[in-house]
């Protein structure tokens, strides 16, 4: 294949070489010429209907739409000639014919493609004397506000919905003057990615409903950070003003989230200002009362002196940054306690080897893979961005997908459902199943193991057989590792990384201890999603929301939410990413590692670091695995278990995508979404 053959093209007198298959627009970008556009978007199919990207091509009597014209050898393109200027002015005049002049009351104002380009190509006055058309607004659900009169029919939203999100409800109805963009029968858009429609809209037709009339873009402080709503670690930009997070936008990262983020990542932020813990509390006479930090620490000090390793347990929550987990571990170490639960659910991994519990193919690997088997995974709910990535491969390269799960989930792509019994894995391994052929044909086979397996007793067995299958069919080599665990929570991988060398305490051990009435003292580090009964214990809750953990607590230490602290998060690929502080935590709340550091001093077991840099230095020196290993392909998972499949049927657990953490549970936007989608 000569896919990599380059072609030469002259743009504004500069000769450049671009890969074959590029469009003229891409070539112009490569040459540094900026081409205005509305309908063209890199991640979507080419529509060529806005005509804004017109350029002059030698020997062509008319200007050409550069987004739709493939570049070919020897083309001579001019991007700023008189003809081009005139053509763009003309296109702009047509676009503005029906566009209202309501920029002062439009939420897109200040970050509007049409506004910007009208500044450069607009005539400044109109020659149109008839009345402008008006279009009734459409209902697109609780997240998207529509002002359809502003629509310029670029169809980006339609293409995104059809191609990326996989909801084929959006379309353009009518024709000519009467074209309207609408959802089928005006139903709400039922996608976990619908917020991206707002980003894609180049004008103010689709704007964010929760953010309507809240702020202007130039008033906002922009902080680049990492999302914690799932284990993907989407890159985000937090826009804040006056100590309040006003919106969250995606930040481009081709290796992780591309240009998208899920609706939960984007819209759960109103939960950040509700039910917040802003001061320490201590339960006095069965009632939580506001106290000072010193008083709270004093209560803990008086209790902790009486307990022993046996009856104390620490629980790490789902959205805790590595630094806090590390400080938590160090505190327990100093106190000679070693029962720390890294996650709140019964999830079975073998932790010896890092490849055992990571998403080894990497998210980018999903673009490369040519056969995918999902086992007990519902990626649409667990990580919507990952699901979009699978769909991308499915759409563009016809990826073949099979799934073993409790039920055939609606994943927005077609796949072969193989039932809910994981025993068929053995027959796949023995080449007795038709799926074996698919594995055999594939160069980059991939297995994704999800929650339903990990929570099941057969977890390790499945992991082991999957490894054997991959080994047999070439799932491990220098360039590929097809074994993947799909984690659900931002802190799971970090917690395993940090805690596995210190404590092998797990969920079933805790259940055992609780049954034996051993546990007397529980330290919840941001943990709100546990299902074990600790009502008889002395409970410390350190976290940011008054959720389940705080209700049970005897002492509450107010921590910071992910937008309010610097921290690092290890995503499901094992990639460590750093979040930045956008705003300060409310009231007396503090960053989590500083709370643990201060507490340690009070308990007379001072931790060995005084600032974040020192902490990180120790953390990374004691745990080299925290670093993102680009060459992790080389290591194969090693799973030790007697492969006997005691249980083999996967069970369905009802999950609500929109409410999975204290923040999203407090968010009224998320509540509305789950009502509409539920």
């Amino acid at each position: 294949m000569d896919e990599l053959r380059n072609i030469n093209i002259i743009i504004d007198g500069i000769e450049i070489s671009v890969p074959q298959g590029s469009t003229v627009l891409q070539a112009c970008e490569a040459a540094g010429a900026e081409i205005p556009r509305f309908c063209y978007h890199e991640k979507l199919s080419v529509a060529g209907n806005c005509r804004m990207c017109l350029v002059e091509m030698e020997r062509s009597p008319k200007p050409i739409a550069s987004c739709a014209m493939p570049a070919s050898d020897g083309m001579i393109i001019k991007t700023s000639s008189e003809m081009v200027e005139k053509a763009r002015k003309g296109v702009m005049e047509f676009l503005l014919i029906n566009h209202p002049l309501d920029c002062p009351i439009c939420d897109q104002g200040g970050e509007c493609d049409l506004q910007d380009q009208a500044l450069y190509f607009g005539k400044g006055e109109t020659r149109f004397e008839n009345s402008k058309r008006a279009v009734s607004d459409k209902n697109m659900g609780p997240l998207i506000k529509t002002t359809m009169t502003r629509c310029i029919h670029c169809t980006r939203c339609v293409r995104f919905a059809n191609e990326v999100a996989g909801v084929e409800d959006l379309g353009a109805t009518g024709r000519g003057e009467n074209v309207e963009i609408s959802t089928y029968l005006e139903k709400a858009v039922t996608s976990e990615l619908s917020g991206n429609l707002v980003d894609l809209c180049p004008v103010g037709a689709l704007t964010s409903k929760p953010y309507q009339f809240v702020a202007r873009p130039w008033e906002l402080t922009k902080t680049e950070s990492v999302d914690v709503m799932d284990a993907i670690g989407s890159n985000i930009r937090i826009d804040s003003r006056d100590g309040k997070v006003l919106r969250i936008l995606p930040k481009n990262n081709e290796s992780i989230n591309e240009e998208w983020i899920s609706d939960k990542s984007r819209y759960a932020i109103d939960g950040l200002s509700k039910q917040r813990l802003d001061t320490p509390f201590v339960k006095i006479n069965n009632k939580l009362q506001r106290v000072s930090w010193d008083e709270a620490f004093e209560v803990i000090n008086s209790k902790i002196s009486k307990i022993s390793n046996e009856n104390c347990v620490g629980v790490v929550g789902n959205q805790v940054e590595n630094e806090a987990i590390f400080a938590f571990r160090e505190l327990f170490k100093k106190l000679n306690l070693n029962k720390i639960l890294p996650f709140q659910k019964k999830l079975s991994f073998s932790k010896e080897n890092r490849a055992n519990y990571l998403f080894n193919s990497k998210i980018e690997g999903l673009d490369k893979c040519d056969y995918l088997l999902l086992i007990g995974a519902n990626p649409r709910v667990d990580s919507a961005i990952l699901n979009a990535r699978i769909r991308k491969n499915y759409i563009h390269r016809d990826l073949k997908i099979s799934s073993i799960a409790s039920q055939p989930f609606d994943l927005k792509f077609n796949y072969e459902y193989l039932g809910c019994d994981v025993k068929i894995l053995t027959s796949i391994l023995e080449k007795k199943h038709k799926i074996s052929n698919d594995f055999e044909k594939a160069n980059f086979p991939m297995i994704i193991i999800g929650d339903e397996v990990l929570q099941n007793d057969c977890s390790l067995d499945v992991q082991k057989v999957s490894t054997s299958i991959l080994k047999k069919f070439g799932g491990f080599n220098k360039n590929w590792n097809g074994f993947n665990i799909l984690h659900n929570y931002a802190s799971t991988v970090g917690a395993i990384d940090i805690l596995s060398e210190y404590s092998d305490y797990d969920y079933s051990a805790l259940k055992n201890d609780i049954n034996k009435n051993l546990i007397k003292f529980v330290y919840l580090l941001n943990a709100d999603d546990f299902d074990f009964d600790i009502s008889n214990c002395f409970v410390i809750y350190q976290g940011h929301h008054g959720d389940k953990g705080a209700q049970l607590a005897d002492v509450i230490l107010p921590g910071a939410a992910y937008t309010e602290k610097e921290g690092s998060y290890t995503n499901l690929e094992g990639r460590v990413q750093y979040s930045q502080r956008a705003i300060f935590p409310p009231g007396d709340a503090k960053e989590d590692w500083t709370i643990l550091r201060a507490l340690s001093e009070k308990l007379g077991k001072k931790l060995d670091f005084d600032n974040l840099l020192q902490l990180r230095k120790i953390m990374f020196s004691s745990k080299t695995m925290l670093k993102f290993d680009e060459n992790i392909y080389s290591s194969e998972p090693k799973i030790i278990t007697k492969s006997d499949f005691k249980s083999s049927k996967l069970n369905y657990e009802n999950k609500n995508f929109f409410m999975t953490c204290p923040i999203s549970r407090c968010s009224s936007t998320m509540a509305e979404c789950s009502q509409v989608n539920g």
Partner: protein, 197 residues
């Protein structure tokens, strides 16, 4: 709401002939079934009293494995698909320039005087619907009125009135030129065809 399809409550799907549907589908490759969307919509529209209620659009979508929205986009794009109920006789009056110059305004007036309906309206007995349309492609015999599938040509105020009254009284009418032209041969000022030199 111009583009919104009419939600038909308790609508009973019309009977369609599966053999005919398959005949339409056979004209296209089986992996390009969606190509049959326009012929199929035409067929269904004919069967369901000349218009396409939502359930019919959805049925076509299901036959063709297409998203509802895609079929609806097609149905709303082409003016020959009616998204609202029409009368038993659909009067499509051409008002593009040649017909207009030859007096389509008079025909419109004649229709109004006879049936009391304007563009887009239906008579109370659901018998007639008037729709003003663009060029019907028979300019040589302008002005044209299309009634269901047939063209009526060379009309004027009087002949239109007669034509409509004949339909009303269930008398037989003959499609084509009302002044007796066979095709587009010339005729004189008095309307006499067969002008010989």
């Amino acid at each position: 709401m111009k583009n919104e399809p009419l939600k038909a409550e308790n609508y009973k799907l019309c009977n369609i002939d599966r053999v005919k549907v398959d005949k339409i589908l056979d004209k296209y490759p089986s992996n390009r079934k969606a190509s049959a969307v326009i012929p199929l919509l035409h067929y269904v529209q004919k069967k369901s009293n000349g218009w396409l209620p939502v359930p019919e659009i959805e049925r076509v979508a299901e036959i063709l494995d297409m998203p509802y929205m895609k079929v609806y986009e097609v149905a709303s794009f082409y003016t020959m698909f009616n998204l609202k109920p029409v009368g038993k006789k659909l009067l499509q009056l051409c008002h593009t320039t040649p017909c207009w110059l030859r007096g389509s305004d008079q025909i419109e007036k004649s229709i109004y005087d006879t049936l009391k309906i304007k563009d887009g309206e239906t008579t109370p007995d659901d018998m007639f619907t008037l729709m003003k349309v663009e060029c019907l492609g028979a300019c040589v015999n302008a002005p044209i009125l299309q009634i269901n599938d047939d063209y009526y040509e060379d009309l004027d105020y009087k002949s239109t009135k007669e034509l409509l009254n004949k339909i009303k009284t269930k008398k037989n009418i003959k499609p084509g030129s009302v002044i007796g032209r066979k095709s587009s041969e010339p005729y004189d000022k008095n309307g006499n065809v067969n002008v010989t030199k």
